[in-house]
Symmetry: C4
């Protein structure tokens, strides 16, 4: 019979496809790398698609636009979702270790950014997951081969990580402060007629708005004592903003110094002054490579 043969053919061709290492390698170079001409082109195209898909969501929310071009946006959304779905599947296909990709940061971001439309059939609002696509923009650094940019980013993140414990202590302090001040303010202003400090959560919200020097002005004290406390909170916030800044600055000054220090190829010890010519531990030249 022909049918089994036909099915076998399909089966074998699928298997061939699934194990076509050369195709996989080719696709991998295009999709995951940016060294070849085709790879660069693909990455630029991807960037454009991501930016467009984000733009469409943003523009669609405008009332004037939404009513008129409803169909256009629907079509756009279908196109983008189709493209991103295929791209996601191809990425899994050509990845040497598919599982590693799926559970990597970019793997998860890629998945979430293709889901919105599918989820949109099930429940409303899900389509706003589209905004996860913005995270995909981080890939832009690779496209333009801005490796140094990535290293800059790493230095930034390292400085933040190194100072994270100090910043957590600082935040716990700030949170205890705003809860206390919010409650105090509720006691002071809460009894005034037509007060804007209607409850403690609102007062805590006010304390945060004031201490971070945002100052919307939607909730403002009207009593003299409330204003005095308010002024105190402002001056406090104005001063303690110096703390995280000081932490990060000091960490970066330290980071710069470390970055400048070379490593001796003879004894392996680092920590030399930026201008040293000889290793201070073993006396060998630092400029040997």
């Amino acid at each position: 019979m022909q049918t089994p043969k036909f099915f076998l053919k399909i089966k074998s061709s699928i298997e061939n496809f699934l194990h076509n290492e050369e195709l996989k390698r080719k696709l991998y170079t295009i999709i995951f790398e940016a060294d070849t001409k085709a790879g660069k082109r693909f990455d630029v195209l991807l960037m454009v698609f991501i930016l467009l898909s984000v733009l469409v969501v943003v523009v669609e929310s405008l009332e004037v636009v939404a009513n008129r071009f409803k169909l256009v946006f629907q079509v756009f959304e279908y196109v983008f979702t189709g493209f991103f779905t295929i791209e996601y599947l191809v990425r899994i296909y050509c990845s040497p270790k598919p599982k590693k990709y799926i559970f990597s940061f970019f793997g998860i971001v890629d998945l979430i950014s293709t889901l919105p439309m599918y989820l949109g059939f099930l429940f409303q609002g899900a389509r706003y997951f589209i905004i996860f696509r913005t995270f995909r923009l981080i890939r832009v650094f690779r496209v333009f081969k801005l490796f140094t940019f990535i290293s800059e980013g790493h230095l930034l993140l390292k400085s933040l990580y190194e100072s994270s414990r100090k910043i957590i202590v600082f935040f716990l302090f700030v949170i205890i402060l705003v809860v206390s001040i919010g409650t105090l303010m509720y006691m002071i202003e809460g009894t005034t007629p037509n007060t804007q400090f209607t409850d403690i959560p609102t007062s805590i919200y006010w304390a945060i708005v004031t201490m971070t020097t945002v100052g919307y002005g939607d909730i403002t004290p009207v009593t003299t004592i409330g204003r005095a406390l308010s002024a105190f909170v402002m001056l406090l916030g104005y001063t303690i903003i110096a703390v995280p800044t000081g932490i990060v600055s000091a960490e970066m000054v330290k980071g710069y110094k470390k970055q400048a220090q070379k490593k001796c190829v003879h004894c392996g010890k680092s920590g030399h002054e930026a201008d040293a010519s000889f290793c201070k531990y073993c006396g060998e030249s630092l400029n040997d490579l």
Copy 2:
């Protein structure tokens, strides 16, 4: 007679209880320390109770909630106060030096945070002392054995303490400035019809709101000269915010350097460079312990 015997028995059992050093030690390990399993459990329970008691006060202030569940909150408050009262008494009981505990920072915070309900019978508003309970959250660091966090906090506080004199000088300058600017603004804007600068304290409040870059917008200048002065105050505030930040940053850079310096075990002198292997004062190895 039996009665005296009975009373004696009670008296002796109370005395036994008061001098039961083993029980005291056991309770001390549970309540004051966090090294044992029981101690950890107690601390976590305490954290939960503190957080809940603060949450109850915050939620209760919401009008929608307060009217419906008045009784529930009352019961919660009785439970929390009961728990904290017993905890406070047990802390005094099992403390080796009760007086030292009572007058310590945490002792006073513990007392104030149990009082609100009792004081609430006497005068209204006292129950907001409950917010002092948030300060008890500082204990959280001990629970999770985050000793390093405490040392980070110490470094922060030390940096702030070291720079406190400079910051006080800065604040005196800021206060003289806002009083002067407030008065000047009252002279400029105070005569405009329907002005928001109704008196000098209000104008000083405005000056603080503006200089700290909070900018509520509840009081804004309307005259051209008032706006010009206002713009000057903003630029001033925008610039002098650099001063406390600069102070704290410089102090922290200094603090980091000190922290990195080792102490020689041979001659006892500290102040070595972070990467030195030998003491620069006596020539002995810095790595001997």
Copy 3:
């Protein structure tokens, strides 16, 4: 005749008074110095008078208070002016070089802060010069013998002075920026009906309010392009605030380092590391005095 004799007596006693060096020295120790008990007492009294006189002006501006206690404030003002006038005259009298005092910073501040009431007879509003009295509070540092505070203040001022040229360049840049942005915004938003950007000065005022992150909200853009420019200005202001902060921080780090450096008594050269024991230029001990 007796009259000439009587006049001569007066004349001589006035001359005696004017040249009574001992009295002068005594008064000088009390008024200008704060080392003796009497000197301290006088300085504290002066502080209280200055604070009270400022407080009176501030409180008087409150409408509720002003109408009721008009006479009380009048009396207060007479007393303060009398006291400060006498104090000013005595300062001139007992000063060894009166001219130097009169034209010194404090001399001018002392004069201006006694004038308000006298000028008040001539033209209204002059009485607000009273606020100059706040500057006299700077004397507080001397009262409490906070010499170190003054040195802290000097270090602060020196850091600001050293970085003043950079800050001036920064400000020129900011001013050119806000004028340009203000004009641009007037072009964009100025044609909208009921716009708040009524003219270019108002738009420049808005640009300053926005760039310094004050954000009153009395003038806000409503068009899409206006909001986009506005967002750009905010991000710009948010970033360039780093510049003066960076300048002052760097200057202070430098200042700290200099402060830590000792001076060699043998060769007179300074610039040693903070932990050096021997002069690196001449090899002599740095600890010799």
Copy 4:
């Protein structure tokens, strides 16, 4: 015939004028340099004209003024444009390399700042290009021979340039953040009746206003969850402002150090400590010139 001779005369006098190297040199010293008395006078005059022309545009926008003195402003504008046109032509004339001047930064600024009135005949609004004249104020530094100021400016710009890559990474992060937060906020607050979060661009605008701590208050959250997110955004913005500040501070500390380092005239190596007397690479004196 006389006519050709007459034309030849004109032609030769024009050619003489165009190649009059002495006149060119004289004009160049006056217009481009500020070392001679005439040069200084010209520069001060130019500054006054620039400032006046900017002031006229600013003042003209005031409604009260514009209607009354329309003709006066017209005349002013003709005078300024005439002056700047002649100045521009003379600059081209006396410049040794006219093309280089025309396409230099100042050359372009000079051209744009003379064009507004001419373009004003063609289309409205063009006259606001006048504001480009403010950029010409940068010349002020040369007038007062503030060369050191220019070097300060260079150091500032260099610090900013060195840290520009880090700041770009930071900005990409901020932009992704505000787009995400804006969309999230639109989902949360957008369904509330009479909401101010009418569409996603508006919500992104709100996110920028909040994160930069500007806080106009024209758009504020009203739901509890919206306020909670809002508070989070504020605290985030309050903290991450530390990042650019830290970057610039660290860069400036580094810049200062480099500035302090001398260069050895013997071996050409730089990187000596600020207080070194001898080159640490070749041992020769650093003070030889």
